[in-house]
Structure formats: structure tokens, C-alpha cells
Symmetry: C2
Subunit: 413 residues, 2 copies
């Protein structure tokens, strides 16, 4: 009898009819004999509705109260799904964050899980019940409700799967798996059957929205087998797990595109130790995440520093950067609202040289100028003008995935 944690996202529980469909799916798994823990998100649109109510009351709503407010979304979904399951004759019981002591720190709005007390969940499972869990929420040491950050119902599911040593964690969503690229941009994108944690991490971090980044990290740490599936079909999904030999045979597993970036350049910075810290210290203190940082080779003792950030952070970051630029005597601060980051990801890169070179050639063939480059062990990212983002993604997908599904011999590029 397998112990399975299932997680259904907001679209999957977005209406009374959708909740009925989820209940039917859960019931079917139960009929197969699985022991089930089902984690649910808020009904689609509900979390935004609640955030909006708060923002209509004041500019910066208190974070503790906002958490208590938005956590109701998942509480409603969990109760409704449990009501439906019981209406169908299946014993079900819902638990909220505080009821299973899903303990977090006190960073409201983006709390980190410290521990989960599973005995009440285990007892309910032993009693033959389907356990329905409100995702996204926990409780701090004071008994205050916390939330784990946007998309964090995935995290609740993985944390429970790890704590319960579940056989699998199934993430049900509105797409039927992880694709080699966003099918809306790349019509030729293919669904992956398997992908490694590391590749999924890179892809999640690079803008593939199918799984939340932190939940993949947690799954990797505790070796939780994840599968991403559609709640709207019976199609096989994508398994995310430990890498194996066959995975390395695939040179590039996916191509991602992030259109939500802005670029800032500080020009004419005196090239001496400590300057990067002067520039990026205040930005980090403001809680702004800097993605890529490029420093050009120094000429006549002065250099240009370019970095990218999420577009929503541009006004605040520009403000901070201009202040610092003034203090350190930089000659200019330039920025570009919209840039696109295109990346190729694949375990195969580790053992095969030439992916970056081939990538640059593909983009050159399309006459797309590369503005920044960053690489890691299993990915290469480039920043290009936003208007070429989709073209770049399609060209790279054609070259690396539709053109060459498996690793090319060294040096082919």
C-alpha cells in the first residue's frame, strides 16, 4: 500500500466543479489502495482577491495580519475538498498549518519550515482517512499563522512527503508535465518523461513556472520522488528525481525564457577593491535579488558593472544605484526596462564541451545580439533584447532539442 502525497494547485480547485473532479480523482487513487495526503492551494484568484482587499486598506499591510488573511484561501479549499470526499462516502479530514504544527520561523509572507509534526496525520491515515491539508501555511512559535511564499503549496506537499517518507509526491497542475520549453512560445516543445533535481532547479530558477524552486530544493535534499501531472487529464507526467546515467546522455533538457528582467549598468567605476560590495550591499539590504552580474575588463583603471534584476524591483534599485554611483564617482547609470534571459539547461553539458559556443552560433545565425552571458555547470544563460526573446528560445530549441535529442560528440559546435 503506497503512501502518496498529492498536491492540487489553484486552477485545479478553482470552482465547485473542479473540486468535484479533484475529489473523483482522489477517490480513484484511494480505490486503488493508496494511503493519501492531499495538499490544496487556494481557489484560483482567491489569494489575489485577499491581497487586494488588504492593499485597499493601507499601503503596506502588516505582514502578520496579511498572513492570517490570505491563509483563509487554503483553509476554504481544504474544507471544501474534505466535504466533497465525505459526501462521496470517503472518510476524510482536513488539517490546517497549526493543527499539524507545521512549524516555521516568523518571516511572515515567506516563512521557512522548521519541522512538521506528523503524528496527527499518521493517526488519521491509520484510521483509514484521506488527509486533506491546507497548503502554503504554517504557524510560528507564538502560534501566529505564517505563509511560506507564493506557490508554496508545492513546498507543503514536499515537506509532508519527506516527513512521512511518502513513496511519491504528485504535483497536479494545469499542464501535463515539464516541457523542453514553454509550449506557448515553442510549439515544438516536448514533454520530458524524466528530469533530474538539478536540471529542474535550474529550470525553475530560470522561469519555468511549473514547480516552485524551494520545493525542488527540498525534494532533492530529502530525495522525495516528484511527479508533475495534469489534473485535467490522465496523461503520464514528468518524474523529477535523482540523476541517472541515461539522463546524462541528453545534452540539453530544456530551454527557458524569462522576459521579466531589467538591466542596470554603472559606467566608469573606478576599478578598486570593495566597490562591488559598496554597490550591491545596499541592494541586498533592501531585499532585492540580483540575478546576473557582469564586470567588464578594466580599461584605464575604470570599468562598467552591469547587472539584472526582476522588473518589479527596477524603480527601487535604480534609486539605490544612483545614490551609490554618486558617492563612488561613477560616470553614468544606464538602464533598460525590459530584457530577456534565455537559457539552455542539461546534465549532459557537464561532460560535453561546446554547448555555449554552439548556442552563440545559433543566436548569431538569427542576428540576435548577446548582451550578457552567465554559465553554471549545467546551464548557459544569455541576456538579449526583449523583442528577440521568443525568437531566441525557438531557435535554440530547434537546434538543441528538435535537432539533437541526445548528446552530440565533443566539439560538434
Amino acid at each position: 500500500m503506497a503512501l502518496v502525497v498529492q498536491k492540487y494547485g489553484g486552477t485545479s480547485v478553482g470552482s465547485i466543479d473542479r473540486i468535484k473532479a479533484v475529489a473523483a480523482r482522489v477517490a480513484k487513487a484511494r480505490d486503488r489502495g493508496d494511503r493519501l495526503v492531499v495538499v490544496v492551494s487556494a481557489m484560483a484568484g482567491e489569494t489575489n482577491r485577499l491581497f487586494k482587499l488588504a492593499s485597499e486598506l493601507t499601503e503596506l499591510p502588516d505582514v502578520r495580519e496579511t498572513d492570517a488573511l490570505v491563509a483563509t484561501g487554503e483553509q476554504v479549499s481544504a474544507a471544501l475538498l474534505s466535504i466533497r470526499l465525505q459526501g462521496l462516502g470517503y472518510p476524510a479530514v482536513s488539517f490546517l498549518g497549526f493543527q499539524m504544527n507545521l512549524a516555521t520561523d516568523s518571516n511572515h509572507g515567506r516563512a521557512r519550515i522548521k519541522s512538521v509534526q506528523c503524528d496527527r496525520v499518521m493517526r488519521a491515515l491509520d484510521d483509514g482517512r484521506i488527509v486533506v491539508v491546507a497548503g502554503y501555511q504554517g504557524v510560528n512559535a507564538d502560534g501566529d499563522i505564517t505563509t511560506l511564499g507564493r506557490g508554496a503549496s508545492d513546498l507543503t506537499a514536499v515537506a509532508l512527503a519527506a516527513a512521512l517518507k511518502a513513496d511519491a509526491c504528485e504535483i497536479y497542475t494545469d499542464v501535463d508535465g515539464v516541457y523542453t520549453a514553454d509550449p506557448n512560445v515553442c510549439p515544438k516543445a516536448k514533454k520530458l518523461g524524466r528530469i533530474s533535481y538539478d536540471e529542474m532547479l535550474e529550470m525553475a530558477g530560470l522561469g519555468a513556472k511549473v514547480l516552485q524552486l524551494r520545493s525542488v530544493e527540498l525534494a532533492r535534499r530529502y530525495n522525495v520522488p516528484l511527479v508533475v501531472r495534469s489534473s485535467f487529464s490522465e496523461a503520464e507526467g514528468t518524474w523529477v528525481g535523482k540523476e541517472d546515467q541515461s539522463m546524462e546522455d541528453v545534452l540539453v533538457s530544456g530551454v527557458t525564457l524569462d522576459q521579466n528582467q531589467s538591466k542596470i549598468t554603472i559606467a566608469g567605476v573606478e576599478d578598486r577593491p570593495g566597490l562591488a560590495a559598496r554597490i550591491f550591499g545596499p541592494i541586498a539590504d533592501a531585499g532585492i535579488v540580483v540575478d546576473m552580474i557582469i564586470q567588464n575588463a578594466s580599461a584605464d583603471g575604470r570599468t562598467d558593472m552591469t547587472f539584472t534584476i526582476g522588473r518589479e524591483d527596477l524603480p527601487r534599485t535604480l534609486d539605490l544605484t544612483r545614490r551609490v554611483a554618486n558617492e563612488i564617482g561613477a560616470t553614468d547609470v544606464r538602464h533598460q526596462d525590459q530584457t530577456a534571459k534565455v537559457s539552455v539547461v542539461g546534465l549532459g553539458m557537464r561532460s560535453h564541451a561546446g554547448v555555449a559556443a554552439r548556442m552563440f552560433q545559433v543566436l548569431a545565425n538569427e542576428r540576435i545580439n548577446i548582451e550578457m552571458i552567465a554559465t553554471s555547470e549545467i546551464k548557459v544563460s544569455v541576456v538579449v533584447n526583449s523583442k528577440y526573446g521568443e525568437l531566441a528560445m525557438r531557435a535554440l530549441h530547434d537546434a538543441f532539442i528538435n535537432g539533437a535529442a541526445t548528446a552530440a560528440p565533443d566539439g560538434l559546435a
Copy 2:
């Protein structure tokens, strides 16, 4: 520095603008120096919306899950009010049922309060905070969320006022006090300045909807001074408290009308011991509240038994009654869908005879037939045909209140 518990109903917090208005009122009380605990209901319509979602999923939604579902309504209001107060610069903190261990039994949907642990509330007050409390909800010994029944945010407020030994419990609603009759029916109805717990209890039980019955009982038991006021105006409200001599001078404090009743008669019942138990046992077991019961004097060994119930219970009660009637050999079961109960209430009745007789005379003058009569120490109720309900109310109000504000000499009727 007075400690005041304020309670705002659903209409009072029914929109973002209304929540802002409530926050402004709370802030004003705070500026006067009061220590404040503010209990809120769900935004108007929200509780019904949640019940409806559950009922769309199954016919008889599980009660534990339904409580977890509907309790979100008050959680949202409490968080929003606290967010607004903090936005205005006032330190506020919200507490849910489980966070102040408002302990109840496990009768989901109509749980009874066992205790309230006030230390966290007191600590927050001592820290100078305004404490905002989600009404209507508690937690049972297992940590499950319970609700206290419709309108029970009043009960939360009174329970907290009792536990905190508050100086007053202010119930803010959409009317500006307790009236001698429903102003919609009796344009000449007057607002009462003061009323005793006992009179308020009778009036709440008889259909005056301004205060929840159980909360008045609790206020009487713990001697909590209540005041009913409008959240939409600055008008003085109605104080509900211990009776004093001046209250007894008023013969009749109010006239109430309950149009939501049905009447059932079992005719030709053999008049022997145990029959009433046979008839009303199954009805009580089904959780149906029987209001008035009249048994006519027996003639030739057989009698008629007539009783009233809430109209929503008519189909189930008829079904049960017909079954019993068959078993005990009654000759007939008759019913009337809509009947009206009209009552006059007043402490003065204790010491002044003749109220009932005068009431019957007033109704006779209007040619209204009385179908049933019931009396208690401080009230007289009659059941009349539904279509005469409002006329009866107005006539009695004219006679007892507009005509004679204070007690008439004995025997005037």
C-alpha cells in the same frame, strides 16, 4: 481607563469602506483612552456564500469541515480591521479562536463555550495594543475549529467581556438600539434607553433580532453591562442591564412579532398519561424546537393538542407527527403554514394584573381572533392568523406604549 469590548456585526464590516469607518470609530475610542477589545463578524453575505459552496458539494456537509470553512469569514474581517488600524498608526493585533484558546465542546455549528484563556489578550492590552478578535469561532479539545451558531459573534463579545471583567460590552449593529417594536412595522416605535436582561431575553426569544439570545443569557449570568448602538451614527444606544426600580414602573417595554411560525394540531388524542411524551419525544430527538404547546380541556376522553414550530421545520415535524398520530390512534393531524406570534413584554407585569385581559380586549376591538395563548411572568404571547400579525402588533403598541408609557393602576384593563 475603561476596558471596553466592542462588537461589530456583518453589515458594519460589510465592505472596505465600512471597515475603514469601523477603524475610525475604534481609533476615536482609543484616543479617548479606552483599552479596547474589538470582536468582528464576517463581512455581510460571506457566511452565506461559504455555506452555499458547501451545499453545492453535498447534501449534508460534514459539520467539522463546515466549521473550518465558515470560520474563515471572521478570520478575514479580523485581519482586515487590524490591517486598517495599523495603517492608521494604531498598534493592533488579531486573535482567532484557537489563538486565545476559546475552548468549546465539540457540537460543531452550535458549540458551547467552556472557557476563554485571556492571558494572551491581557498581555497584548498591557502592551498598549488594540485587540481584534474573530467572533463566532472557538476550538475544541482536539484542536478542531468550532463555531458557536448563527449570530454568535455577540456571544464571543459577551464571553470576552465577562472573562476580562470589562466595564462595558458595546454591540454595534445597523440599528441604533432596542425599540419598543420593529420600526418597519410600527412607525411609532420608540427607542428604549434602558431595558433589563429579563425583558431583553424575552424580546430576543420572541423575534426581536437585535441581540442573540444566548449572549443576553451570558451577559445576565456574568452581569456584563451591554449597550446596543448603531455603527452608522453617533446616537445613544440602549443599555441592557440589571433591573432597577424605575424599570418596573414601565408596564410594557416592547411588543414583538414573529411571523416565522407554523402550527400543528393533533385532534382526537386519547387523554391518558404519557401521550405528550410519545408525541414530543421524537420531535425533540430530531432537534426541532417546539415553541408553544396547548392542550385543550378534555371532552369525552379525547383532547386536541396544538403546538407551534419554526416554519423551516414544518415538513419534518409533520412527517414525525403523522407517524405518531397513527400509532396512538389520533383522529386527525391538521396544520397551518403561517401563523404569527405577537407578544407584549415588560417587567411591570409582575406587579400589575390585567395586562393579558387588556391585550385580549385590544385584539377583540380589532376583530382579530386569538388562536393560542401563552404567558410567562413578564410576557403574554398570542398566536393569530398571519395576515393579522402586523395589525395586532401596531394595535398593541398603540395601546400599551404610545397610549400608556407607565404602569396603569391595577385593574384598568
